[in-house]
């Protein structure tokens, strides 16, 4: 095993296997991955900050086995921030908080290609700062169907004075976020609200949408997964790489762009690759910034 010691913000990190190709059919090594996260750090860090990270590690690359790790590995550097959280079964658990570049690089050195975080911060695990609609296409549907659903959802919510933001999942779907950022909000609120929205969508667009989980209902339709609005669930963090054949990114899109792309009949255009992600973020800034700060109240609950 090869090692390379680097120093970030005065902290020494020993990086291993930098030449290992973790996306073999595309050709993207661990060094490439670390470089991607180094360059995207200033955009992704605010979205990871103070949230219990779930690592999804691919030590042998995206074509081999992966494992989820909710606990912060016990060998974590002493300077890496952690938090104590309580799991559903009441058990206590130490989790990693990725609040700075050095922790991000350490986590990526563990081949945690995908970074998954809850909708709430570790210090207030029952307070979601946003409500999310996870749009997941069933068989014979694709991201273009998701885009149509997302655009309807945006209008539906906007009539209720709720602004929403969309990002690609980096896989086949889209994620729509409604920032809330109020300490009074509970997951019960977001669940009830999102469930009602999914129900209305299914009722009005039965050929396009389903609000039901079982696979047979999802054929050729977009599943609006409202049940992600739960303290025990995590979402792929915006700007995180995805472990697909190619290094795609969960990337924020402007509504106008989504509208244009939905008209063109090419689902691949809705995928944002690592290099494009960096250059676009640097050019346009963080399109998801408002998700962290905009205060909105869910009406009629």
């Amino acid at each position: 095993m090869t090692r390379k010691v680097v120093e970030i913000a005065g902290r020494r990190l020993s990086l291993s296997n930098l030449e290992k190709d973790l996306y073999p059919s595309y050709g993207f090594t661990k060094a490439h991955i670390l470089e991607y996260y180094r360059r995207i750090a200033k955009f992704i860090l605010p979205h990871l900050k103070d949230r219990a990270l779930t690592l999804k590690r691919y030590p042998e690359g995206v074509e081999k086995d992966f494992f989820f790790e909710k606990r912060c590995p016990s060998h974590h550097p002493s300077w890496a921030k952690t938090a104590e959280v309580r799991r559903d079964n009441g058990e206590r658990m130490t989790v990693c908080l990725v609040n700075d570049l050095e922790t991000l690089i350490w986590v990526e050195n563990l081949a945690s290609l995908e970074l998954h975080v809850p909708l709430a911060r570790a210090s207030s695990p029952e307070t979601p700062d946003s409500m999310v609609f996870d749009l997941d296409p069933g068989d014979q549907a694709n991201v273009l169907n998701c885009a149509r659903v997302a655009l309807i959802l945006r209008d539906l919510l906007s009539n209720l004075r709720l602004t929403s933001y969309a990002k690609t999942s980096g896989k086949k779907g889209l994620h729509l976020y409604v920032p809330l950022n109020r300490k009074e909000t509970t997951f019960e609120n977001t669940k009830k609200f999102s469930k009602a929205v999914a129900g209305i969508m299914q009722k009005n667009y039965p050929d396009l949408v389903t609000a039901r989980m079982p696979k047979e209902y999802r054929k050729a339709k977009v599943f609006i997964n409202w049940s992600q609005n739960d303290s025990s669930k995590t979402m792929i963090c915006v700007y995180s790489l995805r472990a697909r054949e190619k290094p795609t990114v969960s990337f924020p899109l402007e509504w106008k762009e989504l509208k244009d792309l939905a008209r063109q009949d090419d689902p691949e255009k809705l995928q944002v690759m690592h290099s494009e992600a960096v250059s676009r973020a640097e050019k346009q800034g963080d399109l998801f910034r408002e998700v962290l700060v905009k205060k909105q109240k869910l009406p009629h609950l």
Partner: protein, 261 residues
């Protein structure tokens, strides 16, 4: 039939503590009806309505006010109400024993039974027996739901009954009810006495029944035999449901979305 306990704890006085459960001793025999929409038999729900704005008011816009004069209110929050609500009782602590005869039945509110919990049977029986012999009832303060009640614990047919009593301030004054004027002749008095005597019998509650309730139940049975019940429209997929105001707002928004597409 196992009766649903509405409270469990202990009943105690001086050094005795008996584990007990509280169950209802009476169920009001009212026949209740659901209100339906005549067009499609949908069960109707109550909503709050603002006559000023001529529209329904969502729950988050509803607050409490105490009317001190016409159109003048003191506002009170849930937290304030909660802060003055008593804590749930764990024991029924008998503080006094009284003669039950002294309690005017006007004070009786609701009857309950106390049922002995495991291990309490023996002392329970003892207490029932002593109370029966002495014909005394225990007085206690007891919190049920969000209210603190004055309760009387007495022996009844081999069991302990608990009766919530009205506070004296809840009893309406009767001064205006009893007429002050008019002399009563001795003759009249004795005639009434005689008539009452003729009608005296033992108290036999089984002889009486709620006539209207029985008639309604008979009518319902007859109608059920004659004709199949009407059915409410099937509310498909409860999973898509939500608070009525939210659903209404979403439907409204959806109409606009569809119009603009």
């Amino acid at each position: 039939m196992a009766v649903q306990a509405i409270w469990s704890g202990t009943i105690s006085f001086s050094l005795v503590a008996i584990p007990v459960q509280l169950v209802k001793a009476a169920e009001p025999g009212r026949v209740s009806f659901r209100m339906l929409h005549s067009k499609d038999y949908s069960p109707l729900v109550r909503r709050m309505f603002c006559p000023e704005e001529d529209k329904m008011v969502p729950p988050d816009e509803i607050i409490r006010g105490y009317e001190i004069a016409p159109d003048k209110y003191i506002l009170i929050t849930d937290e304030e109400l909660e802060s003055v609500s008593p804590e749930r009782s764990r024991t029924i602590e008998i503080v006094e024993f009284i003669d039950m005869k002294e309690v005017d039945s006007i004070y009786y509110d609701h009857p309950y039974y106390l049922v002995p919990s495991k291990g309490g049977e023996k002392s329970y029986r003892l207490l029932v027996e002593v109370m029966r012999r002495t014909n005394k009832a225990g007085l206690a303060k007891f919190v049920l739901g969000e209210r603190e009640y004055l309760v009387a614990v007495k022996s009844t047919e081999g069991a302990l009954a608990l009766i919530t009593l009205h506070y004296s301030e809840e009893i309406l004054p009767d001064e205006d009810i009893s007429p002050k004027e008019g002399k009563i002749e001795a003759e009249e008095k004795s005639s009434i006495k005689k008539n009452i005597k003729k009608m005296i019998t033992d108290f036999n509650p089984e002889k009486y029944a709620d006539g209207r309730r029985k008639k309604i139940m008979d009518l319902l049975k007859k109608k059920a035999k004659e004709k199949a019940p009407v059915e409410a429209p099937e509310v498909e997929k409860k999973e898509g449901e939500g608070p009525a105001d939210l659903i209404a707002a979403l439907e409204e928004s959806m109409r606009k979305v569809k119009k603009n597409r």
